[in-house]
């Protein structure tokens, strides 16, 4: 099941061009913030890890990527090691990006 359920709602609320722009920004956020998470985990910097996870949770929440958002919030809660948290978030992020690509393909080319 897609992790971008809410994007369907956004497709009703926004013009295709606006939606594409939002999803493009989301794509950039996911790449930037998963990179920041990986850096923080490598450096064992819990504060930086939490900040990046919070940002990624916000971005995921905006477009309704619920599973990615939940993973980020679990990672922020800090019950696991940073490495475990990172692995779960990265997996969910990959899934969300895959769903995003499929969703964009359905939207068709930009005008």
């Amino acid at each position: 099941m897609s992790d971008l359920g809410f994007a369907a709602q956004l497709a009703e609320d926004l013009s295709p061009d606006d939606l594409r722009l939002v999803l493009k920004v989301f794509h950039a956020d996911v790449q930037r913030l998963t990179g920041a998470l990986a850096d923080a985990a490598r450096l064992d910097d819990a504060a930086a890890f939490r900040r990046a996870a919070h940002g990624l949770a916000g971005a995921a929440g905006a477009v309704g990527a619920a599973r990615l958002e939940e993973a980020c919030r679990r990672a922020m809660a800090g019950g696991e090691t940073l490495g475990t948290g990172l692995a779960e978030v990265t997996a969910m992020a990959d899934g969300a990006l895959g769903d995003l690509a499929a969703f964009l393909a359905r939207l068709g080319p930009a005008t």
């Binding site: 609320d13 940002g55 905006a62």
Partner: protein, 493 residues
């Protein structure tokens, strides 16, 4: 509130910010994004948004602190907190901190639209309420000091009529501020960028009144050596204030009526018809209807000018305004005279409050100036108040006494024509006295006394105006008067 609003989005996550921007733009609003609380504070100050969409977790300090800082700066823009599902408690806390509503991520356009519309409506209602409260509670209005009910009514009338071109007729006893009211009508109107021309019909010789109002051409009469514009021309696009309109001779009233009806007039000595756009404000301290009934004022002119009446109450009917005005003048004169006064003793306030003030605000102003010039201290004590006021105030409390109250001060005779913003004051009267006295050589002190008393007579005992005519400080006049009284050259007050 309907139509486009300015919405500040405080959000450090680009996806959230971009989504909010797209949704709000789609709703027709103007959007600004702030990525930190500090940037939001600056934007709220400079951009003055109608609503703020606020994420709580921000890189510098959190949204709660931002709301506190906004309030501390007096910024009352409606704040809507944006929160994730997991943080409803945070939203409740935000509402307690002053947010008007919250919205949970992810939000659809319809939800955002409703939440924002509610917040904007709340904001508009709060602004209206605050404006109404300010109007009802205001204690200052275009130079007037006073919050009493009759003054609030006068403020409201002035404010309501200002935008129209309707003629205004101001009535009130001497010293109640009729010229101030006329200026308020002008300054609150769209004509405020043009001239306010005040003409005192009682101060102008009847032969010259027509020329003062309509101007004249060269050779129109003896001494008319050049063309001169009248008050009507100077007030074109602005306001013409005809003070003491009841003093206008009947033949001049006919010419004024034609001018009021048509907006056109002929300068004295010319057959040319000039047309101007003038708003008329008139004033009298008499009952205008009685003047009509007595045949001293044309009925048709009365109905042309008496469109919106503004009645200025006497000071004795203004309750606590007496003390409000007294404190205002005390602070002003203490500053001007370098005195330490910061207030009145309770008994001094009581004396001022119960006195009848027949000369109204002008008399109160003179009394306070007198006190400040002749005394110093932290507080004004009862014995610093002129005896006449104290005596009459005591009589008010003990009505059996038959001591006379000091007579009201006569209406001062202002410069015949005053054009504002140009500050042009005529000193014709004083100049005449100098010319008359020049033939007689008398001791300088005698001449000084004569001049000061003449200026006081001419201005109806208005010390500040007399001092202005003489180009000296009012405190000098007060000191001189006190000295002459002590020497027995003048009767005691």
């Amino acid at each position: 509130m309907s139509g486009a609003a300015r919405v500040l989005v405080v959000e450090d996550t680009p996806t959230q910010a971009q989504l909010a921007r797209a949704l709000l733009a789609g709703l027709g609003h103007e959007v600004m994004i702030a990525e930190s609380a500090g940037a939001a504070l600056v934007a709220a100050r400079d951009w003055r948004p109608d609503a703020i969409l606020l994420d709580i977790e921000l890189p510098d300090y959190n949204g709660f602190e931002l709301m506190q800082r906004l309030r501390a700066e007096g910024i009352t823009t409606s704040v809507i907190v944006v929160t994730a599902n997991a943080s409803i408690n945070v939203a409740v806390e935000a509402m307690r901190a002053g947010a008007v509503d919250f919205i949970v991520k992810p939000y659809a356009k319809a939800r955002l639209s409703v939440t924002l519309a509610n917040a904007l409506e709340k904001q508009a209602l709060a602004a209206q309420l605050s404006a109404v409260k300010a109007r009802l509670d205001r204690n200052q209005f275009f130079g007037f000091i006073g919050s009493s009910a009759p003054m609030q009514a006068a403020y409201r009338t002035i404010e309501s009529v200002a935008a129209s071109k309707a003629s205004v007729f101001i009535t009130g006893e001497s010293g109640t501020g009729k010229e101030l009211a006329a200026e308020a009508v002008h300054r609150a109107s769209p004509r405020m960028g043009r001239n306010f021309v005040a003409l005192n019909c009682g101060a102008i010789p009847r032969d010259l009144l027509e020329s003062e109002v309509f101007g004249h051409v060269r050779g129109a009469f003896t001494g008319a050596s050049a063309d001169r514009e009248g008050a009507a021309k100077l007030a074109d696009g602005g306001t013409l204030f005809l003070d003491e309109i009841g003093e206008m001779p009947l033949d001049m009233q006919v010419k004024l009526l034609r001018f009021v009806q048509t907006g056109s007039y002929s300068p004295v000595g010319s057959s040319r018809l000039d047309r101007v756009d003038v708003r008329f404000v008139c004033a009298t301290n008499r009952d205008p209807m009685l003047e009509v009934q007595g045949g001293r004022f044309r009925e048709d002119l009365y109905y042309r000018l008496y469109v919106v009446p503004v009645e200025l109450p006497p000071l004795r009917a203004r309750g606590d305004d007496v003390l409000l005005i007294a404190r205002h003048f005390l602070a002003q004169f203490a500053r001007e005279e370098g005195r330490a006064f910061t207030g009145f003793s309770a008994v001094a306030e009581q004396a001022l409050a119960v006195f009848g003030w027949p000369g109204n605000v002008r008399q109160l102003q003179n009394v306070i100036r007198n006190i400040v010039v002749l005394h110093d201290g932290d507080r004004v004590e009862l014995d610093m108040i002129p005896r006449a006021v104290r005596r009459a105030a005591a009589d008010e409390k003990a009505p059996a006494s038959a001591e006379p109250v000091p007579p009201p001060l006569p209406e001062p005779v202002p410069a015949a024509r005053v054009v504002r913003p140009a500050t042009e004051a005529t000193a014709e009267g004083a100049a005449g006295i100098v010319g008359e006295a020049a033939a007689e050589v008398v001791p300088l002190a005698v001449m000084e006394r004569r001049l000061i008393l003449a200026a006081l007579r001419q201005t109806g005992q208005d010390v500040p105006r007399a001092a202005a005519l003489l180009e000296i400080n009012p405190s000098t006049v007060y000191r001189k008067l006190q000295g002459w009284r002590a020497e027995g050259l003048l009767p005691a007050d």
